[in-house]
């Protein structure tokens, strides 16, 4: 299984720009069973998880235009859609969002940025897989909501600082563009 080598950003772009159903089915094949695990570990019943997966992947298709490979890896985008859907399903509260940034001003994507974001996603997944089981499970449990209010040590050797720095620089560029216009 060459899961590691698949460029999911490119597959997602085929969905976004070409409305490519085969590409979409490939994304579904890869992410749906993983999303189902994540949702069940976060407390959803199997049937609720299954419904939620359908909603998440439908959002992926219908809001494909919002996918910006310069900003994040596909897995990041899918994660935020799934998290938001889960909050809406389970909590029935409003979900306060930060003010959205007007990223789409920039029509021509910068290929170096696209590559950097996808590569970071791959490196982060690899680093998480390489962690000792105990540490990895702690991070996973934080995402499932199993850890209550305890400080979570994020100094785990994961390359989060690199990702943060890239996003920070992109935000600086966007801010200076916003003040120019």
């Amino acid at each position: 299984m060459a899961a590691q080598e698949t460029d999911w950003s490119a597959v997602m772009i085929a969905v976004r720009d070409g409305r490519d159903r085969t590409a979409f089915a490939a994304l579904f094949g890869h992410f749906a069973p993983r999303l189902k695990s994540y949702l069940m570990k976060s407390g959803a019943t199997p049937s609720k998880a299954e419904d939620c997966v359908q909603d998440v992947m439908a959002t992926l298709w219908h809001k494909a235009a919002q996918f910006d490979p310069e900003r994040a890896a596909v897995s990041t985008w899918i994660y935020t859609i799934a998290r938001n859907r889960m909050i809406d399903m389970m909590r029935r509260e409003r979900r306060p969002d930060p003010e959205a940034m007007p990223w789409d001003q920039d029509a021509e994507p910068d290929q170096a940025e696209v590559y950097a974001a996808a590569e970071e996603g791959r490196l982060l997944s690899a680093a998480l897989a390489d962690l000792p089981e105990k540490q990895r499970s702690l991070i996973q449990r934080a995402f499932y909501g199993d850890l209550s209010h305890s400080e979570i040590a994020l100094e785990t050797g994961l390359p989060l600082g690199t990702i943060k720095s890239r996003i920070r620089l992109a935000l600086d560029r966007l801010r200076s563009k916003m003040t120019e216009s």
Partner: protein
Amino acid sequence: MTTCSSIRHHLNDALLMGYASGHLSEAFGLVVATHVTLCDDCRARLESLEALGGAVIESEQETPVSTEALARMMARLDVPVVAAPPIARRKSSLPAPVAAYVGGDLGSVKWRPVGGGVRQAILPTGSQATARLLHIPAGQAVPDHGHRGTELTLVLRGAFRDATDRFGPGDLEIADEDLSHKPVAEAGEDCICLAATDAPLRFLGIIPRLMQPLFRI
């Protein structure tokens, strides 16, 4: 909304992680979303944690979906979705997440006096924690209080000081049970804060304590 470049007091990892993982109460989530709106550094930290969420998804074992799931999925692609009306970007003196709860500008906030010239407005959130706007007149103090849980105070306008430090626009004070403090608004400008508590405040003076149930602080 412009960001505040002078922010010195930021979100901690636990709050960012709680928000990134979708497990914060609505009131605390509102404070996090508002700070992130004002602070690009915390926005970048939040988005890197969301990337970690993506890596967690990638790390999952595969739980098989039902046999008809893919067919059901593909059939759904042609079902048109009713697009939600785009959220009108209002120019507001309040950060967008707060404006959404207030339903407009600072002018539309329904203030109630809580004593000492201080006014507050409870925002409608889920009951796990309470969010409110505080208006503290320049030079005035919020009654001395401690809390049973955590209290988050985010400055939207003006500044306050307490025993720990000075807090200006965009700064977030995270106060736990041990901190009994008396925030005083700086002279010159009224201070407006977004505050959230996950347990009722404990006022130390007898009169404010009697007022507590009435004002839901």
